[in-house]
Amino acid sequence: MSDFALQLLLTFDATLRLAAPLILCAMAGIFSERSGIIDISLEGKMLSAAFTAAAVAHLAGSPWLGVAAAIAVSVALGLVHGFACITHRGNQVVSGLAINILASGLTVTIGIALFRQGGQTPPLASDDRFRPITWWLVDGINQIPLIGTIYRELISGHNALVYVALAAVPLSAWLLYKTRFGLRLRAVGEVPEAVDSAGVSVYWLRYRAVIIAGMLCGLAGAYLSTGQGAGFVREMSAGKGYIALAAVIFGKWRPAQAFAACLMFGFLEAAAARLQGIHIPLIGEAPVQLMLALPYIMTVLLLAGFIGRANPPAAIGEPYVK
């Protein structure tokens, strides 16, 4: 296998690792926004979950307990969002922003109180985090050229949460399009009056949507600190929640398309990391910053209708007043 092909394969591998939290958050965003609740608090929920997962994993010595606690905290923040936006009909953007800022403050404040390490958690021991899972037959299939390498590098060897993220996509699609809950959820984001008139509670549907969004963000956060990383670092979500939001829009609020957008954005990030400081013939130094900004630029262009059209759910951002 040529060096270039191997490099490409490794980039794809990195793409998957970088895209996993985006995928989970994007699915979270889809559930929330399809129900009519704008969710810019993906970032804050993920950050809080990352801290919780690392802290609990460290203290309890189990990554699974860490995930459970991360989900609980993220869902709790989702419920705060719901309480403000659904029950009290507050501004959804303001509420989401409040949660993001709260998360920035809370993670560091509690982190310092607990660990006295400037807001970080202590580095996690190997047993306290999610380790790569080596699939069976890797050694056997590895003998086959190309396929073996792909199997070893790309398919095998990720931690459990990456596979959870990949499974979340078809699961979300199934839930949205094939179940009663999904039908009602999609309806409540378009014409909530129709759902109410059909005898179904608008509020409870939307609460369930923010709870699901909280669970998915919890997984994403846990992945950052106990899967991809080994411990919590302040501000470690680093805008990934917003990129996921961009992916939701780019994917036109649909799981499969949003998944594709996450992979594309993940690939841009992976490629930018590999091309840092490298001179490319004809182009010169690799435009790393441009590549990193590309998800945002493309989302702006898409929203403006310059490349296709993205129509948000009709009732998004509107509090439901009976």
Binding site: V93, V94, A113
Partner: protein, 372 residues
């Protein structure tokens, strides 16, 4: 929908904001308590750090200056019912405008020419960064919130590229521009007061504080005394009525966002022209987002915005003091308070409305009964 009686004006303007603020502080106090520290002591330390210690007032007002600009930026857009969440990016790019003018002219021109141009440059670049989302909202129907969020990140990437590349100080590694010549620096308050014979402690407070005060007044004139302000408010409260009145709604939206971006851009006069004297990475430090809290708390009115800016200025300066006095609470506490204030004064703004209205109605009824 249980019909609560309408709230008296004074309660709406004063009682509720104060209640929301108290609720935010109360929850933060509980968190401090949970951490194992005394919230009252912490508050005392912050107040001392913000107002009492020598030079602390200057620092507090220096932070206040930032928040006045970003708060006004958010407020002017709110009057047109536009949510400009991009103050952070507009301020950042505004810094570029101010920096370019100072780098280019300060070597060769006197400050009387350079500084007005640099201030103008900050406003112009900020306006440019606001006008694009405004245009996309008005003409292409893009959601302003999403576009301005995206523009924050695009600005961040752009500035990293510029500061680490074309604009980097030659021979240095850190991503920042060379220092401006003296003609490109705003005079500090200390030197200005010294010139008229008043002694004051050293602080980063500078001339831009006065620009901020002028902006507060200008904002009031704009919104409530000019025809443009009238159009902005009409578009915000009833765009259909605006159309009926012959107001060009897209045009007003674009102009509003330009003004909003310009005000955010002016924040750079304080940070870049007044304090850093060079363009540095991430000098906006979240002040743009704090502007949202300021506008929400200040009810989009200059007086309210000034008071809210002062509060946040005191929090930021006092919060720094926490680092010295406590082991387990730090200045990040301020982010927590800020988040709580946005939550209670913004998202949950009307939570206390019905109970307070009912209580006041009951009190009024009792008073009436006693009078009969």
């Amino acid at each position: 929908m249980s019909a609560a009686p309408p709230l008296p004006r004074w309660a709406d303007l004063f009682l509720l904001p104060v209640l929301n603020l108290l609720a935010a502080f109360f929850v933060c106090g509980l968190i401090v308590l949970a951490i194992g520290e005394n919230p009252i002591t912490a508050l005392g330390v912050m107040l001392k750090g913000a107002f009492i210690f020598p030079g602390s007032l200057g620092y507090t007002l220096y932070y206040t200056t930032n928040f006045i600009f970003t708060g006004l930026a958010v407020a002017v857009a709110f009057h047109a019912m536009m949510f400009n969440i991009g103050g952070e990016g507009q301020a950042y790019v505004g810094g570029l405008g101010a920096g370019l003018v100072s780098l280019w002219l300060a070597q060769s021109m006197p400050s009387l020419i350079v500084l007005p141009l640099a201030v103008f440059g900050a406003a112009l670049f900020g306006a440019a960064w606001g006008i694009v989302p405004g245009y996309l909202q008005a003409k292409r129907g893009s959601h302003i919130v999403i576009t301005t969020i995206m523009f924050n990140f695009i600005a961040a990437s752009l500035m990293v590229w510029l500061l680490a590349g074309p604009l980097i100080e030659p021979g240095q590694m850190s991503p920042q521009t060379p220092k401006f010549a003296a003609a490109g620096q705003l005079p500090s308050m200390q030197s200005m007061l010294g010139a008229v014979g008043i002694e004051s402690a050293n602080s980063p407070l500078n001339l831009s504080f006065l620009i901020a005060l002028a902006a507060l007044f200008g904002f009031w004139v704009l919104i409530w005394r000019t025809r443009l302000g009238y159009q902005i408010r009409t578009v915000g409260q009833n765009p259909e009525a605006a159309r009926y009145a012959g107001i060009n709604v897209p045009r007003v939206v674009i102009i509003t966002l330009a003004i909003s971006g310009a005000l955010a851009g002016l924040m750079a006069t304080n940070e870049i022209l007044g304090v850093q004297h060079r363009v540095v990475l991430n000098f906006t430090a979240g002040y743009g987002f704090t502007g949202i809290a300021v506008a929400l708390m200040g009810r989009n009115h200059p007086i309210g915005i000034f008071l809210a800016s002062l509060l946040f200025g005191a929090l930021y300066q006092g919060g720094a003091e926490l680092d010295f006095e406590f082991q387990s609470i730090t200045r990040e506490m301020v982010l927590l308070i800020q988040g709580m204030i946005i939550l209670f004064s913004g998202a949950l703004a009307y939570m206390f409305n019905p109970p307070v209205a009912r209580l006041l109605a009951r009190l009024a009824a009792r008073r009436e009964a006693a009078n009969v």
